[in-house]
Structures are given as C-alpha cells and as structure tokens.
C-alpha cells in the first residue's frame, strides 16, 4: 500500500491530498465500526442464544461476549485506530507541529 500511495503524495495538490486522507480515514472507520457492531450487537445481543450453545471454559460463549469479550475488543479497536491514524498522519504529512 505504501508503494501505491507514495508517488501520488508529491504530485497531488494539498487539497487533493487532504481529500484522499479523509477517504482513507472513512475506510478505516467503516472497517473498525463493523467489527465494533459485530462483537457487541452481533455476538452479545443478536446471536447470543446461538453462541451460548458453545462453552468457553466455565462460560457460555454468548454470555462471555456480552459481559467480557466485547469490551476487550473495544479496547483493541481504539488502539488499532490510534495506530492506523498516526501512521496515516505521517504518510500524508498532516501531523500537528
């Protein structure tokens, strides 16, 4: 991906660059929020009864997602977003001084 982007950056006008930056941001958001929805509303609410048939140690899987698992995934999601965006800021040279 890095190689695909690099050449553009120096040829694009600043405005175009910012537009591209924003579009990448939106793409990250779409992916991360899909995961967010799947673990909380999906595993913890909509499909909880089906998942409960699967044991996870002393837990039922659906119950575990609803009271533990989804929260762990939330933390990971914010971390991944932070990491992706810091990288994107650098790549598009839009970091705050």
């Amino acid at each position: 991906m890095q190689n695909e982007l690099k050449p553009y950056i120096y040829t694009m006008s600043e405005q175009e660059q910012h537009r591209k930056y924003w579009r990448m941001n939106l793409r990250y958001l779409a992916i991360l929020l899909t995961v967010w929805f799947m673990v909380s509303y999906g595993c913890g609410i909509l499909f909880v009864d089906e998942l409960d048939k699967i044991p996870l140690g002393g837990f039922k899987l659906g119950f575990w997602f609803a009271q533990q698992g989804a929260i762990y995934v939330f933390i990971v999601l914010i971390f991944v977003y932070m990491w992706l965006m810091n990288r994107l800021d650098k790549r598009f040279n839009v970091e705050e001084e």
Binding site: H18, L32, L46, K60, I78, D89, V94
Partner: protein, 559 residues
C-alpha cells in the same frame, strides 16, 4: 480496629489528598479553569476521564444491578464501554482540533446560530443536573452506612469538598484530583474482587475466576452453580436473559450513543495538547474504565451466589451482623409472611420475604464475604471517590455553560476575562448548592430521569455533532430541526410512560417493544432523518463553515 475507625482513617486520608491537590493546582485563567490550559498529558487525561465517567452508578450500583438482572445487565456493560469506541473514532480527535472550550461552542459555531447554541446549552444543563443529583445521593448512602452520620451531614461534607476543589481549581484542579480519585476507586474496587475471587474459585483474577470452578465444589463452575441456585428459587437462570432482543438492542444503543454525547465526557478531550493525544487518551480512558467494567460482572456473580447461600432459608434470628446494619438503613427489609422465622427469598412476590436494594450489593459484598475491616472501609472511600469525581466534572460543565456559553458568548460578549472567571466560580458554587439540595431531598424519580438523560444526549447532541463533522452539507436548519424533533419525540415517549401513564409501561404497549430506556435510539434515528431531509431543501452552509469543517478533519493547522 473496627470498620468505622478504618473508614474515618481512609476517607480522611483521601479527602486530605484531594484538598492538597486542589491547592497545588489552582486555576489562574479562564483557559485553565475551562480546559486545564489544554496541557494535560494523555495518560493523566485517560485516568481523569475514567474517574469522570465512572460515577457512583458505576461503582456502587452497576454490579448490584447486574447481580439482579443476570445476562440482561450486559446492556450497561456494553453500552457504557462501547460508547468510547464511538467517542474515540467519531468525535474526540475532531473536537480537539476544533479547539474551543465546550460542546455548545461547537454546536453554536458549526451551525452559525445562536439558537443552536442555546438549545445545546439547555441540553448540557439538563443532562448535567440530572447526573449530579444521583452522585450526591451516592455520597449520602456511603456516609450514612459507614460513618453512621445523617445523610444530610454526609451530603454537606461532600459538597464542601467538591466546592473547594471545583470552585478553586476549575478544570485544572478537577483533572489532577480525578487522577488521584481514579487510583483510589480502582484500588478499592479491585481489592475485594480479588479476595472474593480467590476465596470462591482459587483464581486471583476476577475476570477468569468468574468462569472457573468453585473451590468447595470441584467440577462445578460458578455460573452453573448460580444458574441452579437462581432457578431453584424461581428466578431466571443467571446466564439467560428475560428482556426481548429488540429492547436489549435499543437500550444498549441508547446508552452507547448517549455516552458519546455526554458533555462532561466530551469536554475532557479539549484538555489535551494535540489531536494525536486525544486519540491516545481515549484509548487510555477505555483501558482504565474496562478494568472496572470487566470486573463488575464478576463481582455481580460472586455477590449473587454469596447472598443466596448466606441468607436463603436461614433462620432470621441468626443473620450476620451486616444484615442487621443494612436493615437499619432501610435498604434491606425482611417480612416474615409465613411466620416461620426463616428467610424465604424467592422470585414469587406473594411468598418472597426479603427485599434488597440493588444499590447495596457492592458495598455489602465485602462484608457478606467476611473480608477484613480495612477492605470494607476501602470500598467506602472508593465509592466516595467515584461520586465526587463525577460530580466535579458535571459541575464544571454547568459552570462553563453559564459563564462561557451563556454569558460570554451569548449575553455579554464584552465581559473581561477576570469577570468571566469570577462568574464561572460563582456558577460552580451555585451548582454545588443545587446539587446538594437534590442529594438531601432526592427526587424519587432520579433513576427514571437518568435514563432520560442518556436518551436525551443520544437524540440531540450525538447526531448534531456527528453530522457537523462528517457532512459538509448539513446546515443550521437541518441540525436545529433534527435536535428539536429528537428531543420532543424522546421526551414525549418517556414522559408518557414514566410519569403520565405509569400503568401502561409494559412491553405490550411499547412501540415495537422498545422500553422508554431504549427510546433515545429511535429519537436519534429520527433526528438524523429529519436533519438530512430538511437540509436538502434549505441553503447549504456558508463557505467559511465549509472551510472550518475541512480544517477539523485534518490534524495539521491549515493556513
């Protein structure tokens, strides 16, 4: 030493610490008062956000509620943590870049309208006052049980402390006190949880112990045991739900979106220096919050099991000391309906003899598990830290809404910085007094109004801010009509079912089976819909506003 002496010592030490920090971090300018000078490190801000967010409700009530609701209690766990994902991804970085002081600032500037600003001020005031009343009540409960003073005196002491550091230190004082309060509250929450987890399952990590086998019944997992105990008494199995799926879905969504729209949480992200720091501190905040939120369901299951095992079918004459103590506060009540002197605790209201206020579970849990006295006292100090830190954050939003949004930005733009700071302090002082009044005379509908506050934030602020960032086409006509429709719809539904026609508040009468607690989600959807439609038929926002949106989307300062 007995519990009371320990409580005086621990509460005394923590209060002295908070006052010390307040004196050290006095605010000298309005910027320090409103956003701590914008120079708080992401780690400190993460802790402060966690303490700001985790209120008496999280510390004292939540595990108790889950304990009685079983799996349905997940709505709080998911709702109050999942909202941080929305906050971190959709709001915090852009609002930090916007770089003013308050949420009404953003709404007023982005929608280039005084009306929008005033609607936002009213929403911020309503949400914050509702919350603060609940915190003061939490302070009262802790004081009356552990220090055995009147609730009124407890509330007055709490008021005096908050008054001292919120009025003196503003956001700067509050931030550093909240860091200390986070440490106190998380320590106080974890210590008994680890003790109890060790005792019951042999595993020191409550998050794992909660899914392990019992020490005294090898081969039987805690949750299976609890399911069995619950069903034997006629309750639902602990790990199965009784609410409808659609209702759980809507309540969770209302709490999540409401969380992301709460002004006292959003404003914390104005205190860090950079956009990058806003992202990082959202991560820290959820990490610190999750320590408590993943432990709470474990405590809920431990407490429920312990409670049933220690009092069900036991003779009333032989109840443990904690039972009698809590009976004195009126939060546990026993009525011997069949006159056999034995406590029948069952699901059927006709034969059940025991009523337990859900709020006492966390506070009583260490006593039920017979932990050392210092642990019990520690829980009291932790509950106070949770209540005071949130109360302070809310009071700041109230004072800022009055001095900055209403006075400086709307009524008297020419006011000097010194006068504005004075006004902020006076407003904070008045807010403390009003909050104290509600703490001493709690309106009996506090719980109902809190649900209202979340639905309200979800149906008004959240869509207005999201569209303000993500849509360049959204204009003031769209945003204002969206907020008003969202607000009126949500308010009408809640007021009807909670106040006007309480008897009708049953799933058969709810629209699509959505309870008043979850209706904010529908209000939010309506807000989005109305705003989008109205904005298509009215003028697009002026060019400077479009430029401003381009600017907040990029971390770097544009020329």
């Amino acid at each position: 030493m007995d519990i009371q002496v320990w409580t005086y010592i621990l509460v005394g030490i923590t209060f002295a610490l908070y006052i010390g920090i307040a004196i050290w971090s006095r605010a000298a300018s309005t910027k320090e008062f409103y956003v701590a000078g914008g120079g708080v490190s992401p780690l400190a801000n993460g802790m402060a956000t966690a303490a700001d967010w985790m209120s008496a409700a999280s510390f004292i009530s939540m595990a108790g509620i889950i304990s009685f609701m079983g799996r349905d209690g997940s709505v709080y766990l998911l709702g109050w943590t999942g909202g941080y994902v929305l906050l971190a991804l959709l709001l915090a970085p852009y609002l930090r870049k916007f770089g003013k002081f308050t949420v009404p600032d953003f709404v007023g500037d982005r929608y280039y309208s005084k009306t929008a600003r005033i609607v936002a001020i009213l929403c911020a005031l309503f949400v914050s006052f509702t919350y603060v009343a609940g915190q003061m009540r939490g302070v009262g409960i802790v004081f009356s049980r552990f220090l055995e003073v009147e609730i009124e005196i407890g509330v007055l002491i709490g008021m005096a402390i908050v008054f001292f550091y919120a009025v003196l230190g503003g956001m700067k004082g509050i931030t550093y006190t909240q860091v200390a309060q986070y440490c106190v509250l998380i320590f106080a929450f974890m210590v008994p949880a680890i003790f109890i987890s060790m005792m019951m399952t042999g595993n020191p990590i409550p998050q794992l112990g909660f899914g392990s086998d019992l020490v005294n019944e090898p081969g039987v997992s805690l949750l299976d045991k609890l399911d069995g105990l619950s069903e034997a008494l006629g309750f639902n199995a602990y790990t199965s739900g009784s609410k409808s799926t659609i209702d759980v879905f809507f309540i969770t969504a209302a709490l999540m979106v409401g969380t992301a729209g709460l002004p006292h949480v959003i404003v914390r992200f104005f205190t860090v220096p950079k956009v990058r720091d806003a992202r990082k501190s959202a991560f820290y905040a959820l990490l610190f919050i999750a320590i408590l939120y993943t432990t709470a369901p474990a405590i809920a299951a431990f407490a429920r099991t312990n409670l049933i095992q220690s009092i069900s079918e036991k003779p009333y004459a032989e109840v443990p000391a904690w039972f009698t103590k809590w009976e004195e506060t009126g939060l546990i009540a026993y009525e011997d309906k069949n006159q056999d002197g034995i406590i029948q605790y069952v699901a059927d209201p006709a034969t059940n003899e025991l009523t337990i206020d859900r709020d006492i579970m966390v506070l009583a849990n260490p006593e039920i598990a017979q932990l050392p006295n210092w642990v019990i006292a520690l829980v009291a100090a932790g509950g106070l830290a949770a209540a005071l830190s949130t109360a302070a954050g809310l009071l700041l939003v109230i004072s800022t809404a009055v001095s900055h949004d209403l006075l400086k930005k709307t009524l008297r733009p020419d006011i000097s910085e010194k006068k504005e700071l004075l006004a902020a302090r006076i407003a904070a002082g008045c807010a403390v007094v009003i909050a104290g009044y509600f703490g001493i005379n709690p309106p009996d509908y506090v719980a109902a109004v809190v649900a209202f506050a979340f639905g309200f934030a979800a149906a008004t602020f959240f869509p207005a801010i999201i569209m303000g960032i993500f849509s360049k086409r959204m204009n003031k006509e769209g945003a204002i009509s969206g907020m008003i429709v969202g607000l009126l719809f949500t308010a009408a539904y809640i007021i009807y079912f909670k106040f006007i026609n309480k008897e009708a508040n049953t799933p058969e009468n709810w629209w699509f089976g959505i309870s008043p607690e979850g209706i904010g989600t529908l209000g939010m959807l309506l807000n989005f819909l109305v705003a989008l439609v109205v904005s298509r038929f009215t003028k697009p926002p002026p060019q400077p506003i479009k430029d401003m949106i381009s600017d907040i989307r990029i971390p770097k300062k544009l020329k």
